[in-house]
């Protein structure tokens, strides 16, 4: 009994609604037991649009916390309010507006997003500490791209 055959059996089990299937051929034996809530999981899969889109901008701007520091509660993210190009520093060669570990206050400029030749300064809205920078200098960002994670103080 090879893998495709076993897969076919699994499919047959799923399609039929049978709970358990055991097949023995000589010394070979296969036993398949249906999971508790398998059907529900499959059914919820929406068709076409469920597949991931290749976004031009790395992180999709879903209203969700950034992956790494997700575990910690109470963190805030700073998202790009516009589409454009992200700059970490006021000019080439200058040092970055902020670095991880820096304390920030409302009004503090965190970065620039260039849109249509205009340099838009993105300001901080809370007091706290920068604990992550998510975008590389010069990288394009879309509306809602997460730029920074801040631990409010």
């Amino acid at each position: 009994m090879n893998i495709p055959e076993i897969k076919e059996l699994i499919q047959a089990l799923i399609d039929s609604g049978v709970a358990e299937l055991e097949v023995q051929r000589g010394e070979n034996r296969v036993r398949i037991v249906r999971g508790g809530a398998v059907q529900e999981v499959v059914v919820t899969t929406a068709s076409a649009a469920a597949a991931p889109v290749q976004h031009v901008v790395s992180a999709p701007a879903v209203p969700a916390a950034p992956p790494a520091p997700k575990a910690e509660e109470g963190l805030q993210t700073v998202k790009s309010p516009i589409v454009g190009t992200y700059y970490a520093a006021p000019s080439p060669g200058a040092s970055d507006f902020v670095n991880v570990g820096d304390s920030v206050k409302p009004g503090k400029v965190l970065c620039i997003v260039e849109s249509m030749k205009l340099m838009n300064e993105i300001e901080c809205e809370v007091s706290g500490t920068i604990i992550a920078k998510h975008v590389e200098n010069g990288q394009p960002v879309e509306y809602g791209t997460t730029l920074f994670t801040v631990r409010p103080s």
Partner: protein
């Protein structure tokens, strides 16, 4: 040819442009608002950029966001679709200054066509029949009375910068004129920041007939026949068809010849639509030019076999029409489009929500343009168009029976749609006889 195009639109027309680009081997960039994250145009584009929140003013209508998205993705050109920024001359200009090709007419032509009185004058000069009316803006009630007396009542007052019925008034006799003129001017001023109003002969039971144009950058203009769009409810088209049951080959030829001349003279390029009213005698009168692709362009595609959106892109890339249309334009058969809207078919209230069941009709002569799919959500923020069902038949009768069987097999569960309304209209003997005008729906709904 372009390497990559950004589509500054959403829904079925964004997907329509993606199809054209794929067939031409051009990469695509979709832009989307947060409400459209799971839309098919995002799914099928090569790249996608979120440009703002659900509200159109901050996403699809926001020029800096769209241009920035084009810049960070390095596209060569922007296709505006219909609605949103498609007839915004400023946007077309910003594209040009940003080094992006705007897929549409030149900004000054869009602007000129946007002012109806300018468009009327240009068409008149080129020999296109114009509705009898004032040569320009009405200066005073006296001017209005004088002009109306020349034309003969009833007349209609219209806003120079207007559209969508605002600033319009029908005047049945001289005594009503001064009051209605003041109303029209006030409404026009409020809606369009320009109170200018002109006067036209009012046509009873008019048909809405429009001609599809393609024009290249070298002065060649082709006319792809006409569409009849008389089935409208409050100026919203519900059903369109091509050819019109009332346009004769002779009339079509005459208008085609005049339009080729007129559109060349105004320097028109790319795709466009010239709208006319037809009176009960079958005479056509110019109304306006729509300087973009229309929702109802597929009916023309089905009867001519020409891909209008691909033609738009190729024209914008500098190809001459002679290489795009390799054979003379001919019409074969009949096509009807039903706009399937997410709305209650009786009360016309919008019906946003999740589509829980979705079966598209298929088979011979059936085309569906849709951004929807099983389990998708129709957002409440935009127009209610869910799908366009376009059916082809060898004649009008077959196109109608085919539309009816396709509507029968078009299943949308979870939201209300206009499918039952379309079934009723297409089954109506009056519609089947081709006995239609822009007042049809009001009469039909009152039955």
């Amino acid at each position: 040819m372009f390497q990559k195009i950004l589509i500054a639109n959403r829904g079925e027309i964004a997907l329509r442009v993606i199809c054209a680009c794929k067939e031409l081997g051009i990469k695509t960039v979709a832009v989307y608002s947060e409400a459209d994250r799971h839309s098919l145009h995002v799914r099928f584009a090569d790249e996608a950029v979120c440009i703002g929140p659900a509200k159109s003013a901050r996403s699809y209508l926001d020029i800096p966001s769209v241009i920035s998205a084009a810049e960070i993705t390095n596209v060569d050109a922007i296709h505006p679709g219909y609605g949103f920024l498609s007839e915004n001359a400023n946007f077309a200009e910003v594209c040009e200054t940003s080094g992006l090709t705007f897929i549409g007419p030149k900004p000054d032509v869009i602007r000129a066509m946007g002012f109806k009185q300018h468009a009327r004058e240009a068409m008149d000069k080129a020999g296109i029949p114009i509705l009898p009316g004032s040569a320009g803006v009405l200066e005073s009630p006296e001017h209005g009375l004088e002009t109306a007396a020349k034309i003969g009542y009833p007349i209609i007052l219209k806003a120079t910068a207007g559209g969508g019925g605002r600033g319009m008034r029908v005047v049945n006799e001289a005594s009503e004129l001064p009051g209605l003129l003041a109303q029209a001017q006030a409404e026009a001023g409020a809606a369009f920041s320009c109170p200018d109003v002109y006067v036209e002969k009012y046509i009873r039971k008019p048909r809405h007939i429009e001609f599809q144009i393609l024009a290249d950058h070298y002065g060649q203009v082709e006319v792809l026949g006409e569409r009849e769009c008389s089935i409208q409810r409050r100026h919203q088209k519900l059903i369109e068809e091509s050819p019109s049951p009332r346009v004769t080959p002779e009339l079509r030829q005459r208008i085609t010849d005049s339009l080729k001349k007129a559109m060349k003279e105004v320097g028109y390029t790319n795709a466009g639509t010239v709208e006319f009213l037809m009176d009960e005698d079958g005479s056509l009168y110019f109304i306006e030019v729509n300087a973009r692709v229309q929702v109802e362009h597929p009916v023309t595609e089905l009867v001519t076999g020409i891909d209008i959106v691909k033609a738009q892109i190729r024209i914008a890339a500098g190809e001459p029409l002679t290489s795009i249309l390799t054979e003379p334009v001919t019409m074969r058969g009949h096509a009807i489009e039903c706009r399937i809207n997410a709305e209650n078919p009786e009360t016309f209230t919008p019906s946003a929500g999740k589509i829980t069941g979705f079966n598209l009709p298929g088979g011979i002569g059936v085309r569906v343009d849709t951004w929807a799919y099983t389990d998708c959500v129709v957002p409440p923020y935009y127009d209610s168009l869910v799908a366009k069902l376009i059916c082809y038949g060898t004649d009008r009768k077959e196109a109608i029976t085919r539309s009816l069987r396709a509507l029968d097999m078009f299943i949308v569960e979870g939201i209300h749609t206009s499918i039952p309304l379309h079934q009723r209209i297409l089954s109506d003997p009056e519609f089947q006889a081709g006995d239609i005008d822009t007042g049809y729906i009001a009469r039909f709904l009152a039955k």
